[in-house]
């Protein structure tokens, strides 16, 4: 078989000449990954603080007066949008995608390092534009993270004018940034794997990030177009999304547009977006579970096909977010069916994780704790998703706290737990230091138990009919006194969880300076990133020769082998048998 020495193809590595080109205008995927990571986590903290303020208001409406009603709307919106797009999407793809893809595939860098660098700087610009909306006179938009028109651009909505404009512009810039990075990830996976790295030998992390990026490249266009159309409605006075409407006692100039069109475009993006953050989490958690259970991942091929199936089906379920917008019952039937079908490959993945743990030699390290925590929260959030996928169940529950509980479990907490698992797992490789174990364990338990304390009661509130996006509930027959008590309890839990994140930051900063020097392969893992000549890997990742891959990524506890793991770079022979493929 003729072989193209792919990973070396005509790539001229850009060699940094000064501190600035090495750490600021860097084209090294590892530095870019860290830049993405730091930026994403910083805005994520803003979103966390906003949620704390909202919780104070909800839990103790009569005690605290940090927020005016209009500010509550602004904070809900910014919290939701930052968490979903600027934190999770950016950190999984820009952060972990950038760091892991070239290392796990045995490449020296992404295929187009310069474009990769631009991707980060454009992302940073989008974050700056978004943050700028806190400082304009109108304040940030209060339209809700879904930005539904007509209300999103009407005078009466907080942040009308500059706030919503900055939001739309920032989203468009973000999409440009994502596209530049995303093209790189996809082409690197397709074209720049090292010798022996067949597609079916790639770690699931790479598979999942690869498919998630493709979803992004196909889903973000819909958001991009809706952002353009809404900007035109807002600034020029077109009527794409705006029907004839009376606002604040005045007849507006709009006429004949379709608000539901926006909802379709938004959710055509929005549902795949759920998987853009969930799939990378699935992939990373698979690798963490397998490594720390010293067992090969159960059903590797099935896992790959499930990722592909989920990716495909995720494009035909979007209208399950629109059951209450009114639709033809046959459409409702169609979208409910596809929604339940997508649960099948998802459930397969969950079974495979559990079966990977089954009779494994489980090491309860900090990354493993977070990974197992993820299985719990994900099953939990996935099950409530089955409820909401059915039209007749969704209609009464829609826009209540049941939905808030559901999506925070499934796409809020679960991916965040995986992010922590991944950060702890790869921390030794990225920084060359070990983290502080006890601090990590405390961080896990408080976060994990705390999220249940926060979100489980929300499901009950939802059954009572407590609506979401409300500033205060006052006294109504609908909401019993016990619900108010419960809200206070949730707020206390949220504060404990929020504060506990300080443990994480203390851990990171302490370990960076004082942590034990890390072994090149502290978890005794098989994948390529642990086999680099230096830790942290140097510019160009590998020595003069690229690594060669002889086996799949999950050679743990192979019968007949002396060690309980065999790196992908070890040739197959009597003492190093192969179990995989």
């Amino acid at each position: 078989m003729a072989h193209v020495a792919i990973a070396d193809e005509g790539q001229e590595l850009h060699h940094p000449k000064s501190w600035v080109t090495a750490y600021i205008w860097s084209q090294d995927h590892k530095v870019i990954a860290i830049q993405y990571g730091i930026t994403a986590i910083s805005v994520g903290l803003v979103a966390l603080v906003l949620s704390g303020l909202m919780r104070l208001q909800l839990g103790f409406p009569d005690t605290f007066s940090f927020l005016a009603p209009y500010e509550y709307y602004q904070y809900v919106t910014m919290h939701g949008m930052i968490m979903v797009i600027y934190l999770l999407t950016a950190l999984f793809l820009g952060g972990f995608g950038n760091y892991l893809i070239p290392l796990m595939l045995g490449a020296r860098d992404m295929v187009f390092p310069f474009l990769n660098m631009l991707s980060f700087w454009v992302y940073l610009l989008s974050v700056i534009v978004l943050m700028a909306s806190f400082f304009v006179p109108s304040g940030p938009t209060g339209a809700g993270w879904t930005l539904y028109p007509p209300q999103a651009i009407l005078e009466g909505t907080p942040g009308a004018g500059a706030g919503i404009l900055l939001m739309l512009v920032s989203l468009a810039i973000f999409i440009v940034a994502f596209t530049m990075g995303g093209l790189n990830y996809v082409v690197t996976v397709l074209q720049a794997r090292t010798r022996g790295m067949t597609l079916m030998r790639m770690p699931l992390s790479v598979w999942a990030i690869f498919v998630a990026t493709i979803l992004g490249l196909l889903a973000f266009p819909a958001l991009f177009v809706s952002a353009i159309m809404m900007t035109l409605d807002l600034q020029i006075g077109t009527s794409f999304f705006m029907p004839a409407i009376l606002s604040m006692g005045e007849n507006l100039e709009y006429e004949g547009g379709s608000p539901v069109l926006f909802q379709h475009l938004f959710w055509f993006f929005g549902h795949p977006e759920v998987y853009i953050v969930a799939l990378p989490a699935f992939g990373l958690v698979s690798d963490v579970l397998s490594t720390h259970a010293r067992k090969s991942i159960f059903g590797y091929r099935m896992m790959v096909w499930a990722i592909l199936a989920i990716g495909g089906i995720s494009f035909i379920v979007w209208a399950h977010h629109m059951y209450v917008s009114g639709m033809n019952p046959y459409f409702g039937f169609f979208f409910a069916t596809t929604t339940l079908i997508i649960a099948i490959p998802t459930a397969i993945k969950v079974y495979n994780w559990v079966l990977t743990l089954w009779r494994g030699n489980i090491h309860l390290t900090v990354p493993m704790l977070f990974a197992i925590g993820f299985i719990f929260t994900f099953i939990h959030g996935g099950l409530t998703g089955l409820f909401l996928g059915n039209v007749s169940v969704d209609v009464p529950l829609s826009d209540t706290y049941f939905v808030i509980g559901h999506f925070h479990m499934v796409m809020g907490v679960s991916p965040v737990l995986v992010l922590f698992a991944a950060i702890y797992h790869w921390f030794p490789k990225i920084t060359g230091r070990m983290f502080h174990n006890a601090l990590g364990v405390w961080h896990f338990w408080i976060t994990f138990l705390g999220t249940y304390a926060i979100y489980l009661p929300m499901h009950y509130l939802g059954f009572l009919g407590v609506p979401r996006r409300y500033y205060a509930y006052g006294t109504t027959d609908l909401i019993p006194e016990s619900a108010h008590t419960m809200n206070a309890g949730i707020t206390v839990a949220a504060f404990i969880v929020g504060t506990a994140q300080i443990l994480f930051f203390i851990n990171v900063f302490w370990s960076l300076r004082k942590g034990k020097k890390a072994d090149p392969n502290p978890w005794r893992a098989t994948t390529l990133e642990w086999q680099t000549p230096q830790t942290p890997p140097a510019h160009g990742n590998w020595g003069p020769e690229l690594p060669v891959v002889y086996r799949w990524a999950y050679e743990y506890s192979t019968p007949g082998s002396a060690e309980d793991f065999i790196p992908q770079t070890d040739p197959v022979d009597e003492t190093h048998p192969s179990s995989g493929e």
């Binding site: 996809v186 082409v187 177009v225 353009i228 077109t238 891959v549």
Partner: protein
């Protein structure tokens, strides 16, 4: 070197899969070309969203839609000819695809001079397309009174979708003209002689053909419907 892959290749569907997933480039093309392909797929989704949006508002609006063949008619030497300008614009753009294809062809043969001339010709045709579009816009705005937010002939969405979609496409063409000129200049300067291949010309060509293809759809959906 034996990397554990079986040397024998299975046949049929299985063969296709294992060939495609083998430890080599998934597509036998340069990285830049693969990236352009994927970018164009993504861009297709952008135009598809625009056109879907256009069709939806055309159906949701409560006011009659102006008749495109009336609006886009020119009176030349006393004759009222519907869609004439658009026909010329479409012809120009399709011709430019032809000259682009020829440039790529001469690129394979390494005929530097012809490549540069044909690329510049393509860029020129593209620029004249944008010029005619500017003329069309001016006529619509000045003579017919069409604005993005309304027009005397009927549904306001007529103007909004028209300016938005043709504008976005026009931006693509303008970007293409710049891209073509830059690449032509670099070919002329001899930047690709060292490498000994003109793959960049081919990549530029992909983009250019795509922009033309999109125009065919816009033409069909907007002017002929």
């Amino acid at each position: 070197m034996n990397t554990g892959e079986s040397v024998e290749m299975p046949g049929g569907m299985q063969g296709v899969v294992s060939d495609w997933s083998a430890d080599k480039e998934a597509f036998k093309v340069p990285w830049g070309k693969a990236m352009m392909w994927i970018f164009l797929v993504s861009d297709t989704f952008i135009f598809a969203s625009f056109l879907t949006g256009y069709m939806t508002v055309r159906m949701s609006t409560t006011v009659p839609w102006p008749n495109p063949s009336e609006v886009f008619a020119l009176t030349i030497a006393g004759h009222h000819i519907p869609l004439i300008l658009i026909a010329i614009m479409t012809f120009v753009l399709i011709t430019s695809s032809g000259t682009m294809a020829m440039a790529v062809n001469y690129g394979y043969r390494g005929d530097r001079k012809k490549v540069v001339i044909l690329m510049l010709l393509t860029a020129l045709l593209g620029a004249s397309f944008v010029g005619m579009q500017a003329f069309e816009w001016t006529k619509l705005i000045v003579e017919e009174g069409v604005r993005p937010w309304g027009n005397p002939m009927g549904a306001a969405q007529f103007g909004s979708t028209f300016f938005m979609i043709t504008g976005f496409h026009g931006l693509h063409v303008s970007a293409g003209v710049i891209y073509l000129s830059v690449v032509a200049f670099k070919v002329w300067r001899g930047d690709y002689e060292k490498k000994g291949n003109y793959e960049i010309v081919e990549i530029t060509g992909l983009y250019w053909h795509f922009v033309d293809l999109v125009w065919v759809f816009i033409f069909a959906f907007f002017y002929l419907w």
